[in-house]
């Protein structure tokens, strides 16, 4: 199989069966914002705003480089933003403004 054929057939998340490192039994207590992010994912799924599978595809569409560099919940939150833009529920501009507002408020 040529290198490009492999890239065509497997997306970044589709790693089942690939060679990988030894298993390290890592774990961590979720940060409060990570837990909020998880709860947000569940609530978005309950309301059929973003389903679990849409979220997974949203992470997939971030591309291999970003998926490799972001942490687990960072990928989720960026996927939420992109999907909400695509669905016309939020605009990039209103999210940018709200993020500025949140940052100013939390710096006080």
């Amino acid at each position: 199989m040529s290198q490009t054929e492999h890239l065509l057939k497997t997306l970044p998340n589709d790693i089942g069966g690939l060679p990988a490192d030894r298993i390290e039994r890592i774990d961590h207590e979720l940060e409060p914002w990570e837990k909020r992010c998880h709860a947000l994912a569940d609530v978005l799924d309950f309301h059929k705003i973003i389903s679990t599978e849409e979220k997974r595809r949203g992470v997939e569409s971030l591309g291999a480089e970003l998926i490799g560099k972001l942490t687990y919940y960072e990928r989720w939150v960026v996927a939420f933003a992109n999907i909400l833009f695509q669905k016309g529920i939020l605009t990039p501009e209103e999210l940018a403004k709200k993020m500025d507002e949140v940052e100013r408020r939390q710096a006080e």
Partner: protein
Amino acid sequence: MDDHDHSHPHPAAADEAPPGYYEIMETAIRELLIEKKLIAPGEIRRQIEVLDSRTPALGAKVVARAWVDPGFRARLLTNGRAACEELGISFYDDTQLIVLENTDKVHNLIVCTLCSCYPRPVLGLPPDWYKARPYRARAVREPRKVLSEFGTEIPEDVEIRVSDSTAIQRYLVLPQRPAGTEDFTEEQLAAMVTRDAMIGVVKVNLEHRIDS
């Protein structure tokens, strides 16, 4: 300008780092969705309480009941979700649950190769290693080697079955009841059942017993 009057915000204390870019994004998305009345303010908090209430102790209760009650065991293997609901464990999502029974001939292992799907209503949130590349990539290709890295050696004549979870289809392993536990109460049995045994990466053994 007064030397003591800082026009810039004070940096947060060292032990209280300022929120990062992605945390700010999470807060902003949540607040915008609340402002648009697409989600209600209390929903996130209530869901955090639900998440906090889900631990492997629930799965252990299901396993112990299946070990002592053949009728329940049969119902659990027929419809995992309905049998868990019978024990008062609610499923807060649309997922179905298939319970996979370990026997002298078959050892089951669960994985989510694409992401991190996991039987959260009965086990809580998955450990990081379950979501990490090495386990996801290798569990389906070389399960015996993966199991040996967890200290679990499965005899060659025992078949290993690996089940790959999806967004709507989740799995739970029903481990084998260890020998020598015939006199144990249901609570004593449940105390031996670990999260990793219900993922299938370890067996239940008497050393896991939590003496009260």
